[in-house]
């Protein structure tokens, strides 16, 4: 029998994450106890959530992360290698087979910033990738970005320049900080490119 009022996957995700108000949660549960179609959709959401958790644990996503996230990783006995170059500074870095996560911590005065982008450039300063409108806390004074450990393990020795820029209402960019990562390959074998 087809469900006449199916629960949206977003509601089921909120239910799974315990983010619904109590009354709404009870309504969802009553529905789920009478509807296997929505139960099957909840199973899909659970499977998706489990897969996302596995993906996050692999350290292979390029993304901005929170300190809470890093704290949780540490509790799981996963090894985090973190580099924190000074503004305008340069830092030598590497990755070993023992590392599970690779983090770059970029200090900057973020107060007053409305939008911040992270621009990743090659050694000549040419932008190769941009993470636009990244999440940041204006009071935090730093941004932690996770470089894909899969990428880093495969990379040859190379230099990457990271730039934090803020965009004003007119769309003009202003540099908040530039950071140079000089990566030396220490894993056996040549880099993948």
């Amino acid at each position: 029998m087809s469900c006449v009022k199916p629960l949206d996957a977003t509601i089921l995700a909120d239910y799974w994450l315990a983010l619904l108000p109590k009354s709404e949660e009870e309504t969802v549960e009553e529905h789920l106890f009478a509807c296997d179609e929505c139960g099957a959709r909840l199973e899909e959401v659970i499977a998706l959530g489990d897969a996302i958790r596995d993906l996050a644990r692999q350290g292979s996503l390029l993304m901005i992360v929170s300190d809470t996230f890093l704290g949780r990783i540490a509790k799981e006995d996963l090894h985090v290698r973190e580099y924190a170059p000074t503004v305008g500074g340069s830092i030598a870095c590497t990755v070993t087979s023992e590392d599970d996560f690779l983090i770059g911590r970029l200090t900057a005065d973020l107060s007053g910033a409305k939008r911040v982008d992270l621009s990743l450039c090659d050694e000549r300063g040419i932008e190769r990738l941009r993470l636009a409108d990244i999440p940041f806390n204006s009071e935090a004074g730093s941004v932690a970005f996770q470089q894909s450990i899969t990428y880093a393990r495969a990379a040859p020795s190379e230099t990457m320049i990271a730039r934090l820029v803020t965009l004003d209402e007119a769309g003009s960019e202003h540099l908040l900080g530039e950071y140079t990562f000089r990566h030396s390959r220490t894993l056996p074998g040549p880099g993948a490119w």
Binding site: I46, I52, D54, L61, M63, N137
Partner: protein, 191 residues
């Protein structure tokens, strides 16, 4: 009195209502009990996974609630036959509150009703293509990706995530919902 063999045949061909199941179980019909287990076990298990966050604990919940329900049905204690689902849900809620305190009672009931009938059902969660998911997560906008990872990996509270993003909890909800729709769309699942 309906012959049990006849009921067994009918149960495999016709979708019985919960009300029919209650009546048949009260009459001592074993195939109806099996149908009750088939119907309710996945629902109880999902409830258990949500509230207990552990597969074994969820299986324990399934076992416990099913025997409690069966016991009540056999004894005619479920008076409103059309409220079977509500009864089972209520049992789930109560059982989660005191699951660990009932180990002795559970053992006694297992002996009474038979462990073979109440064996955990095989688990079959949908498969997710991990490579495709990685591509889909990487295609999300930065804030959406952060929200999705923080929510599902870390199960951080909305307050924590909204503080990290510098947005209100209402805005966070919008970002999370948009990201889930995009992910499911990218994974080619109908939202």
């Amino acid at each position: 009195m309906v012959h049990p063999l006849h009921i067994k045949c009918v149960l495999t061909e016709i979708e019985f209502s919960d009300s029919d199941l209650v009546k048949q179980i009260r009459l001592g019909n074993r195939p109806a009990e099996a149908e009750l287990f088939r119907r309710m076990a996945p629902r109880i298990r999902l409830y258990g996974l949500r509230h207990l966050r552990n597969q074994h604990a969820a299986d324990d919940l399934v076992q416990h609630v099913l025997i409690t329900t069966l016991e009540a049905l056999r004894a005619g204690r479920v008076r409103e036959s059309d409220k079977l689902a509500s009864f089972v849900l209520g049992s789930c809620r109560m059982t989660v509150l005191d699951l660990r305190r009932n180990t002795q009672r559970k053992q006694r009931l297992l002996e009474q009703f038979g462990a073979d009938l109440l064996a955990p059902m095989p688990i079959s969660m949908p498969d997710v293509d991990r490579n495709q998911l990685a591509n889909c997560v990487q295609k999300l906008k930065e804030r959406e990706r952060a929200v999705i990872v923080m929510s599902f990996y870390d199960e951080e509270t909305s307050a924590d995530v909204s503080r990290f993003l510098g947005v209100s909890e209402a805005n966070l909800r919008v970002i999370r919902h948009r990201a889930i729709h995009q992910l499911r769309g990218c994974m080619e699942v109908v939202a």
